[in-house]
């Protein structure tokens, strides 16, 4: 009897997963193995053309570029999110600070992108300020390049990194830092060798939460990117809406899904071992630290 109720509880979740995840995914898989229709759509005929077409140097180039930009953007996001998460966790008015992180989230995604265009544009705020300070006469071209895309992506996904980092740092026992200092570690060493290993799970979650959506970015490279900022998300959209090659759009989507899920699985499988290591807290370091004390 109890078991049946359990099933009933998870039913909405199962239905949700099936209707909004499994079923669309199956459609994408099926489309990726069909022949393309001349005017969009697919012909009911098996074909692996969509996968062989992916070996095209243009698509490989964009895949490499997307990977590179996603790694840089994710690394920067975490680098910024780490001190933010730490200061929120140690702050007395956590609620207000968390609120401030979340508030911009309530503004529409596109509006926030356009806000960056208003800031960085040739006639934007930043150029106005530079001109007013006589640092430049001509406008500086901030927008429409890869740097602009990375900057806006970092801004967009920063809360996704701050929140998981905050929640793990919040659970961290800060007296461990004092202990490390007592044992002779410098402030920097105590962060690096005591704090970081203990919040590894937060770092991993933050990394995944930012890397996965950034890897599939579409609107940001479209709006603030230039001639050199075409990413995989844009190729997928173009195949679907412009060149009318639905199977190719599906096969690229599949590849992105498999790559990102593979990454998540790989990290999830490794995680338990990492956590064990965390509580060992680097014995070699403890020894040298106590030796120094002596």
């Amino acid at each position: 009897m109890k078991k049946q109720i359990g099933l009933l509880y998870s039913l909405p979740q199962i239905v949700w997963l099936f209707v909004f995840f499994a079923a669309p995914l199956c459609i994408i898989i099926a489309y990726s193995f069909l022949k393309k229709g001349l005017y969009g759509g697919v012909e009911p005929q098996f074909s692996v053309e969509a996968y062989t077409a992916m070996a095209n140097p243009n698509i490989l180039l964009v895949t490499w570029r997307t990977l590179k930009m996603s790694v840089i953007a994710t690394a920067l996001t975490i680098l910024i999110a780490l001190p933010c998460g730490y200061s929120i966790a140690r702050s007395k008015n956590q609620a207000i600070r968390l609120f401030l992180v979340i508030v911009p989230f309530w503004t529409n995604f596109l509006v926030r992108i356009y806000a960056w265009i208003a800031i960085l544009g040739n006639e934007g705020f930043l150029n106005d300020i530079l001109r007013a300070l006589h640092l430049t006469t001509e406008s500086v071209q901030f927008l429409y390049n890869q740097t602009a895309v990375i900057l806006v992506l970092v801004y967009m996904y920063l809360p996704y990194a701050i929140l998981p980092l905050f929640s793990t740092i919040d659970k961290f026992d800060f007296t461990l830092l004092d202990a490390a200092r007592d044992l002779g570690a410098s402030r920097f060493q105590s962060y690096l060798r005591v704090l970081l290993p203990n919040i590894k799970s937060g770092l991993v979650t933050a990394g995944l939460f930012t890397f996965v959506p950034i890897f599939g970015a579409y609107a940001v490279p479209l709006l603030v990117g230039g001639k050199d900022s075409y990413m995989l998300g844009n190729i997928i959209a173009d195949q679907l809406t412009k060149t009318r090659n639905w199977p190719l759009a599906s096969s690229i989507s599949m590849t992105v899904t498999v790559l990102t899920t593979g990454l998540v699985f790989f990290i999830a499988m490794r995680k338990p071992r990492e956590q064990e290591q965390v509580f060992d807290a680097d014995p070699a370091f403890m020894q040298t630290a106590s030796a120094g004390k002596r």
């Binding site: 095209n56 698509i59 040739n122 429409y144 479209l222 001639k227 009318r244």
Partner: protein
Amino acid sequence: MGKLRKVLLNLSGLALICVLLVLSGCGGGGQSKTLYIFNWTYYTPDSVIQKFEKEYGVKVVYDTFASNEEMFAKLKAGGANYDITFPSGDYVSIMIKEGMLEKIDKSKLKNFGNIDSKVLEQCDFDPGNQYSIPYYLGAAGVAVNKTKVQNYDHSWSIFARKDLANHMIMLDDMREVMGDALKYLGYSVNTTDQKQIDEARDLINNVWKPNLLKFDAEAFAKSFAAGEVWVAQGYAESIFAEVDKSNWGTVDFFIPKEGGPSYLDSMVILKGSKNKDLALKFIDFIHRPEIYAEFCDYFGFPSTANVPARALKKGESWYRPEDLVNCELKKDVGADLEKYNAAWQTIRVGK
């Protein structure tokens, strides 16, 4: 106690039924009908829509798209229940082939005779206008900010000017930009010759693209209006909708002398439309001379399709019907589109 609960339950049940009745009344459209229009951004003025609503006592739902491809992909994917849409010629023929359109009973269109016969002659994508009624014939051109750029030719060669590098923008539209390059090289915008397509690709990739800020079909007019770019290839109506009226004097809009791809957008009724009669009334309404003139004046269009409207137009036009003389209508190139796709991908992916 039990009795009270029963009464309450009955009452709430009754309320639910009432709500459902009201909702279905709105959706089903007993007295007031709703016409669903799927149209380009900046293409039918609100004032025209409001007049139509008032005169026929109906409601119009007006959704927009930014390109033929987007419109087609959305309709093809299904789920939409639009009555009228506005495809360009190449897409009219595709949609006829795909069986997506309803035949139009021209005998019910009193104003069909107002349409320029020269425009009707160009409708070889739908001979005899069985499925489509011309809406507007036009072409994308080039807008120049005269305060920043002087001394230029009315030619596509402006995009080869290195001194304007990073201050120019072209549409993120394969057929448009490829068509410009093909026309500049003296070829047809509908060529299927691989050598000509390659030549056009190299011209764009090696000569034009290095000077462009980006390819953009969504925000090009905003960028131009904001002074972000000085030279923009695009549609006049988008440019002038974004540029402040007081600055219109600083904008020069021209159709390059070599010509380019022109478009003939038509009104079509989609298969499965629930309001075919109302859709026909809307099409007829658009070709009333005073309404067509109002539409043209709103966007600064020349009255290309409707003859009597030319005399009724009050405002100026950004270009004249004669400027389109070297332009060529885009046609559906069928499976050869793949050649364009490959060329365009090389251009867009970039280094």
